[in-house]
Symmetry: C2
Subunit: 216 residues, 2 copies
């Protein structure tokens, strides 16, 4: 599958690229193409050292959109609106939001926009035929980048387009020991977006690191 990661040089983007690029054609996107190229070289080097195949390229964010079937928006909530207004070509694409609208106070807290969730806000900003799903919200960047770490994690996926959702779930399930779960329609994303600040609080108050979630 051709996967583009907008904001692919950030923590989360790099983590996702590391895990997907041995199984899919990944384009790491960035506002600065040079940073994306560096990031892709780092990814290639790490995977090659481990004897893993790696198909990854660094490009601009716009090319990450244009060259891909699935576009992951690995950007902080505050960058969503300016980034999406600077990009085009989302029509008909499968778009994935791992975005969590949260703030750090004495603890982490979910602060959803007026639409109710980052996903519903992104829905409004994309063309109507973009096929939006929520997924990868709880990726603990350090753990995902460290290829020796076993993940054994659950990833909830929301979306209204059943076919797009199935593609995204297959993409997730292609990562060993990671399992995608259907968490309902796009409007249910608010509950998925709350998970990340919860997990950050759990990590902080229990002296844990890189906490993920499993459903039992």
């Amino acid at each position: 599958m051709k996967v583009g990661i907008v904001g692919g040089t950030g923590d989360i983007g790099e983590g996702i690229a590391m895990r997907l690029s041995s199984r899919h054609d990944v384009v790491i996107g960035s506002r600065e193409e040079e940073k994306a190229v560096q990031s892709s070289e780092c990814c290639l080097e790490t995977l090659t050292k481990k004897g893993l195949p790696c198909s990854v390229r660094g490009h601009t964010n716009q090319e990450a959109v244009d060259r891909s079937d699935v576009v992951i928006l690995a950007i902080p909530f505050r960058h969503v609106e300016p980034t999406l207004s600077s990009l085009k070509g989302f029509s008909g694409k499968i778009v994935v939001s791992p975005v969590n609208p949260m703030e750090k106070r004495d603890y982490f807290v979910c602060v959803p926009p007026p639409e109710g969730s980052a996903a519903l806000m992104i829905r409004r900003l994309l063309p109507p035929d973009a096929r939006l799903c929520t997924a990868f919200n709880t990726v603990a960047a350090n753990k995902w980048r460290a290829l020796d770490e076993e993940l054994e994690l659950a990833i909830p996926v929301c979306g209204d387009d059943a076919e797009a959702k199935a593609v995204v779930m297959d993409l997730i399930n292609s990562v060993p020991r990671v399992r995608a779960y259907n968490a309902g329609p796009l409007a249910a994303s608010c509950m998925v977006e709350c998970l990340t600040p919860l997990l950050l609080n759990i990590a902080r108050f229990n002296k844990m690191r890189d906490v993920g979630i499993q459903f039992k």
Copy 2:
């Protein structure tokens, strides 16, 4: 520990009573004392059959408060305000809210009150010196009632009174394979209360039953 369960004849209350009454003195409370007595007899019979000790009694909700050090409010969100206004004696007690403000539409969704969470609403309804914690929110009633089922679950706990929180975490950790996690101050409860509708959606859309959560 003396544990009172207000609304102890409901699904969640019975599940908690089943698991706690072999290790603690449990009072199952109900608006109708007779129902509470029946429920306690059923609990006693089940545990005795399994050769487990069991200390459980059925009483009114008011007696469940009066006879206990820790009071668990095992009531649906819509019953919180009328139930609390009909009871007294919470001063100085450790009070636990497993309450989730949620609605069932085509999927389950968190609908918090103006205070931001059920916990913060309950905080307003209790006397200022009641020691409120959020816990047991994600108890899957059927699984907790079926003593043969291994739980192996995480339970996040929120609260502002460190000592009360430690007591509640000890209470949770007394159930084999269940582990309490400090999830921050009471104001962070909104993220814990969102977990239950998320888990119900995961169960529904993935054909699972009695889904719980683990942190990895």
